[in-house]
Symmetry: C2
Subunit: 505 residues, 2 copies
Amino acid sequence: MTEEIKTHLQLRRVAIDTYKENVAYLHRDCLVYRSEGFQALSKVEIQPAGDGVSVLATLNVVEDAEITAPGQIGLSLQAFEQLGLPEGTPATVGHAKPPESLHAVHRKIAGQRLDFEDYVDITHDIVANRYAKIEMAAFLVACSETGMEREEVLYLTRAMAASGERLNWHETLVADKHCIGGIPGNRTSMLVVPIVAAHGMVIPKTSSRAITSPAGTADTMEVLAEVELPLDRLDEIVRAERGCLAWGGTARLAPVDDILISVERPLSIDSPGQLVASILAKKLAAGATHLLVDIPMGPTAKVRSQAGAMRLRKLFEFVGDRVGLQIDVIITDGHQPIGRGIGPVLETRDVMQVLQNDPNQPRDLREKALQLASRILEFDPDVRGGQGYVLARDILDSGRAMDKMNAIIDAQGRNEHTYALGRLSRTVNAGHAGRINAIDNERMAHIARLAGAPMDKGAGVDLYKKVGDSVDKGEALYAIYAEFDADFGFACDAATADSGFTLAP
Amino acid sequence: MTEEIKTHLQLRRVAIDTYKENVAYLHRDCLVYRSEGFQALSKVEIQPAGDGVSVLATLNVVEDAEITAPGQIGLSLQAFEQLGLPEGTPATVGHAKPPESLHAVHRKIAGQRLDFEDYVDITHDIVANRYAKIEMAAFLVACSETGMEREEVLYLTRAMAASGERLNWHETLVADKHCIGGIPGNRTSMLVVPIVAAHGMVIPKTSSRAITSPAGTADTMEVLAEVELPLDRLDEIVRAERGCLAWGGTARLAPVDDILISVERPLSIDSPGQLVASILAKKLAAGATHLLVDIPMGPTAKVRSQAGAMRLRKLFEFVGDRVGLQIDVIITDGHQPIGRGIGPVLETRDVMQVLQNDPNQPRDLREKALQLASRILEFDPDVRGGQGYVLARDILDSGRAMDKMNAIIDAQGRNEHTYALGRLSRTVNAGHAGRINAIDNERMAHIARLAGAPMDKGAGVDLYKKVGDSVDKGEALYAIYAEFDADFGFACDAATADSGFTLAP
């Protein structure tokens, strides 16, 4: 990749996590820095002596020999691990040619349509860590909202799905479900999977951990059972139980997605095209054949209008049909959190109440889970259209879903340790009497995160009231639970500043 | 900006130059990192104790206490200097709200038109270092090629011009010239300024140093005279001599431009809108009233088609008219380097040969300078249309331009030290006999830079042949000059791989 032969420097590990971007450090007085005319933010290529594979990195200039001395080439953690060589290994550093696929990104910026090959090349270079963050940002912006034809979303989906491993369950019908997110407490997978698996349909659910939410399905399931399972174990479990609730990170499914998310998230870019490609690529790679997509809609949800939800549904359907995924999209009520608990332990409690047919169970969570499960059950050719709901309800009411959940927990490895609720707690009370008009999903998620969720399993928010309930002045709206004093203080301060509840007198 | 009160950490200077981006470093074991749920790439706000001004920074997570220990908050050089406080100062760190103007960037990404206020807000936040690199990349891409109406280019120009200082020369006609760049050796300013100033017209030329080229006007003029002059000195010089050739960096003219360039350059984004706004904002801030813009066009120039040149010209005219700059745009021949030398010392030699009417002078440089100077002279209401050329030629031929150049050199401070050509040199020879069909501007610039230009004043390339010349096999096409062995090796290797010359048999 470089054009000329360079002087050797010594590799050095610089213990800085630059998060999905390779960064290289050169001392300002290093001869190589001087003679090469590098500039900060230059893209450099580090080539270890011998015939090792090189890495590309973005250059930062250092003035402290304790970090990187003249004669050394420092690499941030990811870049150092990518090389996989010991410190002190001689390496040359040269100007890196930008990855070839950046030409396609520039064409995209210029408003042109890219073809399948372009998306494959871009995906390939990103997975190989050849893109700097600003280059990924450029790609994402160029591909956002107005930028992508639906055919291009299809190309990107295919390219992303092909960027990593692909699971094969050796079944003709492999069901999956996905919610686009944004609604706290919405832990339906832990109900849908046991219901569907109890029916005998294969549903190997792999989930992510929370990124910006107070709990992901993986974080919550972890309260009950082991979720970090090697692929061969997963295969055994699904063969025996028809379903699982595992963390998806052990398989390298559509890895390009994780890298792009690292830039999308801080940029708050969440365009329909990227969303659809990201979800469908992961599901394809996970070996699904049938997929139910849940799009919650509401004023504080991710999708805020019927028109927006409909556009997104059409895009899911268009791409799904063409990649061979049978897709059913359901637009659900997203105007407030689902269930009562927000945070792993609290959400687990809600789920178990529903499975146990506890009279005190959150009815909205039960109803939503039945609604979703019924749609998945109807993927089964033997289930008559319209019979899914009754079937799902029977499985739940009869205790068969609970039995299946216990079987899955045992198969994955039941947690010996019982997680407790956070030791610190406080209620947040109504400032005046009235009727609850709205509960802000984003605010509740923020407060629960500040309290320590999902890192502290027992932290979070427990809702005592939902939209439509009436309260007296001083009556508790919800409780905050936390493990640590600092977290507790942050969450309480945030709730005081804005409780997330709107009361009409 | 932050929502909650945070635990105090101790400020620490981390000697890493992250180039126009504020970066903060927190140790992975730091309680604040843990409890805040920060993620790498999070935007954080560092608020020093007392009522100091806070800074925003992008977070990197550190695992080495030598770089930043738990209990400390490390800041990269720019961010540390921006705070201007001693190490150890207590400070709180919290989640930063994204800068308000990012909402406008998101509207731009969504394809909407922004108004003047939006551009002012964005510019303001960028100058205050509130944007991360990926946010600047998002803005630049959203505003590139297809993204900006010409009214928006006007808004951006005004906002950028207002982002820093503004010079006032107290003259009714202040001339300036600007070339959009890309042609090595094209050192016309050092001829145009003395010709125009000798006529009595005010032309206070401030130039940049080279960014990606082997020599800027400031780098080249520095061979002869002091160029880093305080504003009051510049004012005196221009009052006395009517012209100057100084470095523009001493004044903070349109500083947002320098920040955006730090992302544009590595991204190779160079959209017409950004280009026009960047140039005109700098010229407005520099106090120009009349501006000649040189757009070289050719197969290896920045602008490669007549249509592209024309579109760019119209955009310059549209914005120029509306910001009160009288603009004349000239499209020039950019199909090969101008003059013979490429690099500060060699280009100075060419300029002096033209000023001294040396019979061996590069005629193309002379002709181009006369052409440009004639257009500027015709800004003078007393110069009859079409008479500029004769006037410019008389000034040059009579030696008045040389006298004026000497006066300007003396006024700025004549260089005691004489710069020599690089001590290492080699000629690059024709592989076969033939006629020179093309010389690649980009390649010649690259070779000259590898040789050490502009950092080593005496380094560069001296062209012996130009397009249309015939050569025998083995005849020298050009010489490479360098000061250092490594540089010399890189440049020679590059010339061997591709000399930049195309010969037809």
